[in-house]
C-alpha cells in the first residue's frame, strides 16, 4: 500500500475565521488509515475548531477538506464537554447513535452494554447525567462515541477530567480498541505523556491562530503496553515533544 493510498483525510490550506479573528490559518494535515494522530498546542490555538472542521460541523473559510473515496465516513466524536441529554438516562444516551441509525433497543442493547462495560460504567446504566461526576459523564460520552463502531474517532481532550489511574486504564483501552478495530483517531490533548503513549504521530500547533509547526512521528513498536511508559524510548519522545512545545510557546 503506497502512502497516497493509505491516506484517509487531507486538509489543504484550511483556514477558519470567527467574526473577524482567525482561529486557524492555512492548516495542512493528513490522516492515514488506522493511524492515531494527536493534536497538541496552547489553549485557544484552534484544536477544537480543527476537529469540528474535520467532522463537517463547521465549514472552512478557505481551503479544502477531502476524504478518500469522496464521502465523509461514519465519525464518532467526543466533545470537550460531555454533551449528554439531561432528560435521558445513561444507557439511552449511549444508545443515541444506534437509535438515529434506526436500530431498535432490543437489537442494540448488547452493544450499548458492551460500550458501557468498556468505560467501566455498566452499573450506572440507569443513572441520569446529573447524578454523575464530571469524569463519569465524560466516560459516558466516550461510550456513546464508541458504540457505533465508527471508522474515524475524533476526541477532544476526552480524559482531561479523569484521575490518573482511570486515565491510564482508558488510555490502554483506547489503544486496544484502536488496534483491534483499525479505527483512525484524531486526538486532542494537553498531555505530552498521553500523546506519546498513544500516538503514531503528534502534530504540534502554534499559538493562535493555529498552524502546525512540527509533526513528530512516534516510531515505537505497536501495540504499546504499560511498560512502554517506563522505556528510554518513551522518555526520548516525551523530551522531544516538550522541546517542540516550548519552541511554539516561546514563538510570538
Amino acid at each position: 500500500m503506497s502512502a497516497a493510498e493509505a491516506r484517509l483525510l487531507t486538509l489543504r490550506g484550511v483556514s477558519r475565521r470567527f467574526a473577524d479573528a482567525p482561529a486557524l490559518e492555512a492548516l495542512d494535515l493528513d490522516l492515514r488509515r488506522g493511524e492515531f494522530l494527536s493534536l497538541i498546542g496552547p489553549s485557544g490555538c484552534g484544536k477544537s475548531t480543527a476537529l469540528r472542521l474535520i467532522a463537517g460541523l463547521i465549514a472552512p473559510t478557505s481551503g479544502a477538506i477531502e476524504w478518500a473515496g469522496g464521502a465523509r465516513p461514519e465519525i464518532g466524536f467526543v466533545f470537550q464537554t460531555p454533551t449528554l441529554m439531561p432528560w435521558a438516562d445513561v444507557r439511552t444516551n449511549v444508545f443515541l447513535p444506534l437509535r438515529l441509525e434506526g436500530r431498535s433497543w432490543r437489537k442494540a442493547r448488547a452493544r450499548v452494554e458492551a460500550a458501557l462495560e468498556r468505560v467501566g460504567l455498566a452499573d450506572r446504566a440507569r443513572a441520569y447525567p446529573r447524578e454523575l461526576s464530571g469524569g463519569m459523564a465524560m466516560r459516558v460520552s466516550i461510550a456513546r462515541a464508541l458504540v457505533s463502531e465508527p471508522s474515524v474517532l475524533l476526541m477532544d481532550e476526552p480524559f482531561a477530567a479523569l484521575d490518573e489511574i482511570t486515565r491510564f486504564r482508558l488510555n490502554d483501552d483506547l489503544a486496544r480498541i484502536v488496534r483491534d478495530s483499525a479505527t483512525s483517531v484524531v486526538f486532542v490533548t494537553h498531555s505530552i505523556f498521553e500523546s506519546v503513549y498513544l500516538s503514531s504521530r503528534v502534530a504540534v500547533f502554534s499559538q493562535a491562530p493555529g498552524r502546525i509547526v512540527e509533526t513528530l512521528a512516534i516510531d515505537a513498536p505497536q501495540p504499546r503496553d504499560p511498560d512502554f511508559r517506563l522505556s528510554p524510548l518513551f522518555s526520548l519522545y516525551a523530551r522531544r515533544l516538550a522541546d517542540a512545545l516550548n519552541r511554539t510557546e516561546g514563538a510570538p
Partner: protein, 265 residues
C-alpha cells in the same frame, strides 16, 4: 443549611396553614367584637354559610368558569406550541408573525373584550379573551426553549445525520419541555384571569353565568357574603390550577431538570 426533614415539613406546610387559620380567627373576632355589618365586611362564618346556602348557584358558576379556563388553556397550548414549532422552522415566518402575537399580548384584554363581545356571542367572546392572555406566555416560552437547545447536542445530531423530524422529536421537544411547562403554569393562571375579566365585561346572565358574573350580581344586590364566597371560589380555583400545573411540571421533570429538584436531593 439543610434543616431536618420534619422541621422543614413543619415550616413548609404546617406553618402557613396555622397562620392562615389564625388570620381567619382574628377576622371573625374583629367582626363580632366591633359588630361590623355584614354588607361592609362579613365574618368568615357568614361567608361559609353563604357558600353552603348558595352552593347550587355558585357551583354552577364555578363549573362555567373552570370549563372556560380549561378550554382556553387547551386551545392556547395547541396554538402556542404549534406556532412556536412553526417559528422554529424559519426565522422569516417568525419575523413576519411575531409582531401580531406581541401586539395582542401588550393590549390589555379588558380593552379588547368589548369589541369581541360585539363580534362574537358571549360564550365564545369570553373563551377567546381567556385564550388570548394564556396564549402568549406558552408561545414565548416554548419558542425560547426550542431555540435554546444545547448547541453541542444539535451538532451531535448533525454528525449522525439525523433528519429534521428526528432532531425535533428526540432533541428539540424534550429540550423545550421545561420552558413549555413554565409557560403553561403562567398561562394557566392568566387563562383564569382572562375568563374572569371577560365575564365581568360581558355582564350578562343566562345559563353561561360564571363566577365573575355572580360576584358583580351579588355586589349590585349588596349580598356581600355571597360576593366573598364567590371570590373565595375564584381564589381556590386559581390555587388549584396553579397547584395542578406545578405538580404536572414536577412529575414530568422529576429526574433531570434542576427546577424540579428538591433543594437537598
Amino acid at each position: 443549611m439543610t434543616a431536618p426533614a420534619p422541621r422543614a415539613r413543619l415550616r413548609d406546610y404546617v406553618l402557613p396553614l396555622v397562620v392562615f387559620a389564625l388570620a381567619l380567627g382574628v377576622w371573625e373576632f374583629a367582626v363580632r367584637f366591633w359588630r361590623i355589618e355584614p354588607f361592609v365586611l362579613p365574618a368568615p362564618s357568614a361567608i361559609c354559610a353563604s357558600l353552603v346556602a348558595d352552593w347550587p348557584i355558585l357551583s354552577a358558576a364555578l363549573r362555567v368558569t373552570l370549563a372556560t379556563t380549561a378550554k382556553a388553556l387547551a386551545l392556547a397550548t395547541a396554538g402556542g406550541v404549534g406556532l412556536a414549532l412553526v417559528f422554529a422552522q424559519s426565522r422569516w415566518i417568525e419575523r413576519a408573525f411575531l409582531p401580531f402575537a406581541i401586539v395582542l399580548q401588550v393590549t390589555p384584554v379588558i380593552a379588547i373584550a368589548p369589541l369581541l363581545l360585539i363580534w362574537l356571542d358571549q360564550e365564545t367572546a369570553v373563551l377567546v379573551c381567556a385564550f388570548l392572555v394564556a396564549f402568549f406566555p406558552i408561545l414565548a416560552n416554548t419558542a425560547m426553549g426550542l431555540a435554546s437547545t444545547d448547541r453541542g447536542l444539535v451538532e451531535l445530531f448533525t454528525l449522525y445525520r439525523a433528519s429534521r423530524w428526528r432532531t425535533l422529536t428526540r432533541l428539540k421537544l424534550p429540550a423545550a419541555l421545561p420552558y413549555f411547562l413554565n409557560g403553561l403554569r403562567i398561562g394557566g393562571g392568566l387563562a383564569l384571569i382572562g375568563a374572569i375579566v371577560a365575564e365581568l365585561a360581558a355582564g350578562a346572565a343566562g345559563k353561561g353565568a360564571g363566577l365573575a358574573f355572580r360576584i358583580a350580581e351579588a355586589g349590585y344586590r349588596l349580598n356581600i357574603p355571597r360576593m366573598f364566597a364567590a371570590l373565595a371560589l375564584v381564589s381556590l380555583a386559581g390555587l388549584a390550577i396553579y397547584g395542578t400545573l406545578a405538580l404536572v411540571s414536577r412529575l414530568a421533570l422529576r429526574r433531570w431538570h434542576e427546577s424540579a429538584l428538591h433543594p437537598d436531593a
